[in-house]
């Protein structure tokens, strides 16, 4: 579904990603772990198309409906319309834009791109309510300004709500589990698990295995210094939490 081939990327002339290879197939859940500064967030931003990053090498091939497309040629909004989603580590606050207005604008843009008719505003409200109930979100949430004054947990839940509304094919969730208390973690974890389907793929970027109690991964990758240095199964996440990254990093340097 998504093939990241030897991607290198830099910001302000500083190389952050140094040749990443990753193949993601439909129905899979991948976990990316790694010490701070290893390039995990950069990888998700590069896939989503953040303008601050220059791609210096490699390609990202997106394989959808039997067509291969080069993701790097697309504007960020086109990537989103094609089914790429990024859950932000720090969701951006936008004053005076209401959450509902934003969600409806995004949803309608995607409908338009995919040749589907706009949803009637009232139907959209019902559609939204269903998604919100399932994430345990109160109604007043929707009338508030986008992420403004939201608590850390509310912001992350709002990211998952956007994912539920836009139903992307490939979702990079950047530390969606950080800053959550146990109850919020459960809601977010169960939410992600329910959004997992056979035709989509989820990539979780995290420091902890606790999210993996709710979402079972197929692969766990470890990133260090802009590269994937180790790939394993779920047990790798538990090893890391117990023993840290030192031995893996040493192993990779030999």
């Amino acid at each position: 579904m998504l093939t990241i081939k030897d991607i290198s990327a830099s910001v302000d002339g500083k190389e952050i990603l140094k040749g990443i290879n990753l193949t993601i197939k439909a129905g899979e859940v991948h976990v990316i772990m790694g010490p701070n500064g290893s390039g995990k967030s950069t990888l998700s931003k590069v896939v989503a198309g953040h303008p601050d990053y220059q791609i210096t090498n490699g390609e990202i091939v997106y394989d959808i409906n039997f067509k291969k497309k080069n993701l790097l040629d697309m504007e960020p909004d086109v990537r989103a319309k094609e089914g790429i989603f990024m859950g932000f580590q720090y969701p951006v606050e936008i004053p005076s834009v209401s959450n509902e207005e934003f969600l409806r604008a995004a949803f309608n843009e995607i409908c338009k791109y995919q040749g589907v008719e706009d949803m009637d505003p009232l139907d959209f409200q019902d559609f939204l309510k269903e998604k919100m109930d399932f994430l345990g979100m109160g109604e007043k949430f929707i009338n508030r300004e986008l992420n403004v004054g939201f608590s850390g947990g509310e912001k992350k839940r709002n990211e998952i709500l956007q994912m539920a509304v836009l139903s992307p094919k490939i979702s990079f969730l950047d530390e969606t589990d950080s800053g959550l208390d146990v109850d919020a973690l459960r809601v977010v974890g169960e939410g992600i698990n329910k959004l997992k389907r056979r035709d989509n793929a989820i990539i979780l970027i995290t420091h902890y295995h606790r999210l993996l109690d709710y979402v079972k991964p197929d692969f766990v990758h470890v990133m260090y210094d802009g590269k994937i240095v180790k790939t394993g199964e779920e047990s790798l996440a538990y090893d890391i939490e117990k023993n840290g990254y030192d031995s893996i990093i040493k192993e990779s340097q030999n």
Binding site: D77, A80, V92
Partner: protein, 397 residues
């Protein structure tokens, strides 16, 4: 007739600080004519349907009061200024109590050319809206028209009123110098809205307010762009417990020029003022915010807050912003600030990452920027009226 022939201090106006970035010397040698009488043309019904939103509507066409086109309401005393001079001489006389502001150029210009004006008084506490429409007719003239209407408004003791001033013109070239004098008697409240959306011409407008004890003046100002547009607002908080709250939006594009001059004079103790000005600038346009708060020595326990924010939608646009405080009292609470910035990249990326195109993301973020001021407008139909004008501005981003 040329302006330079009638105005002796024309060459000297730029010595005043407030004219530093606004050069109107191009007007000096231009020929203008003044319309002398009430028009024989009635405003058509489509226009009425679209633009008449007040309970009472006073219409000026090319600077001349048109009684035939106006709409009256029992809550308001409305009289042509020359009649009011005869009937209420003491009232008219008292309108001269409004002190002079720092720059008297526009005020003087208006007096020199003023042929027509209106006197309005509101006595009741009914929440009725009076609208003044300054309209430039859709007719070609060989020589551009100069209009110089004057409005004197009295808010009687304990009265409550909403006042909407709209400036629209179909003319391609003109000079208009509208001046509104407002006097608020004890315990009265006025919600003042000024919407300037002429597309062409030169606009030199002024509003002066004298506030007496325990009066409230809430203003919302909108300056849409035209080649040269300037509005001066002077508020005199003359007696204790007078309060003023001004919000404004200005939106410029092309190579147009918008100038906002605000002066608030705290002249008595326990007075309050707030200014919140938001500017949007496109293309190679220029805008000015020159806001002054002056607190006299006796005006103890004054409170004043002033903020000017500008959103630069182009690399070529220019903003001159100058928030100023002059404080002679020692027990006051005052703050002021100004910002100018471009669209936030992270905000745009966030919206784009959800499938919103860059073009729409820019519109959403700029609209949100303006809404912070527009949301202060309480009357929904006035808010919609301005919203519609702004929408067409955003549409062209």
């Amino acid at each position: 007739m040329k302006l330079i022939d009638r105005i002796s201090d024309f060459p000297k106006y730029r010595k005043n600080e407030s004219w530093k970035y606004s050069d109107i010397s191009f007007l000096k040698e231009k020929e203008f004519q003044i319309v002398q009488e009430d028009h024989h043309h009635f405003i058509n019904s489509d226009f009425k349907k679209k633009e008449f939103i007040g309970d009472a509507v006073v219409v000026f066409i090319d600077g001349v009061l048109s009684i035939k086109d106006s709409k009256f309401h029992e809550d308001f005393t409305i009289l042509p200024l020359n009649q009011a001079f005869l009937r209420y001489p003491e009232k008219i006389e008292s309108s001269f109590q409004i002190p002079e502001s720092d720059s008297t150029f526009v005020d003087n210009l208006n007096r020199v050319f003023s042929e027509s004006g209106v006197y309005i008084e509101k006595k009741s506490t009914n929440k009725t809206l009076i609208q003044l429409i300054f309209y430039g007719e859709n007719k070609k003239t060989d020589i551009p028209i100069l209009s110089s209407p004057r409005v004197i408004f009295f808010g009687a003791e304990n009265s409550n009123c909403s006042f909407l001033e709209t400036h629209i013109s179909c003319r391609e070239e003109f000079l208009t110098i509208p001046v509104t004098d407002i006097i608020l008697e004890k315990n009265s409240t006025l919600n003042y809205y000024r919407v300037k959306h002429e597309k062409n011409g030169t606009h030199l407008g002024m509003t002066k307010i004298l506030q007496k004890e325990n009066t409230t003046f809430n203003a919302f100002l909108f300056q849409g762009d035209s080649p040269f547009s300037r509005h001066e607002l002077s508020v005199f908080l003359n007696e204790k417990y007078a309060k003023t709250d001004i919000s404004a939006i200005y939106a410029s594009k092309g190579s147009n020029h918008i100038d906002n001059q605000v002066s608030v004079y705290h002249q008595s103790p326990d007075t309050e003022s707030e200014q919140f000005f938001k500017g949007l600038l496109k293309d190679s346009s220029t805008a000015i915010f020159n806001g002054k708060v002056s607190v006299l020595r006796d005006a103890q326990r004054s409170y004043s807050k002033q903020l000017n924010q500008n959103l630069m939608l182009s690399n070529k646009a220019t903003i001159f912003t100058k928030p100023q405080l002059e404080i002679d009292a020692d027990d006051v609470k005052c703050s002021h600030g100004a910002t100018s910035g471009q669209l936030n990249r992270e905000e745009l990326f966030y919206l784009q990452s959800r499938g919103v195109s860059k073009e729409i993301a820019i519109k959403m973020v700029s609209k949100a920027f303006a809404d912070e001021a527009l949301n202060r407008v309480k009357e929904p139909f006035i808010k919609n009226y301005v919203q519609n004008i702004l929408d067409s501005y955003f549409w062209e981003i």
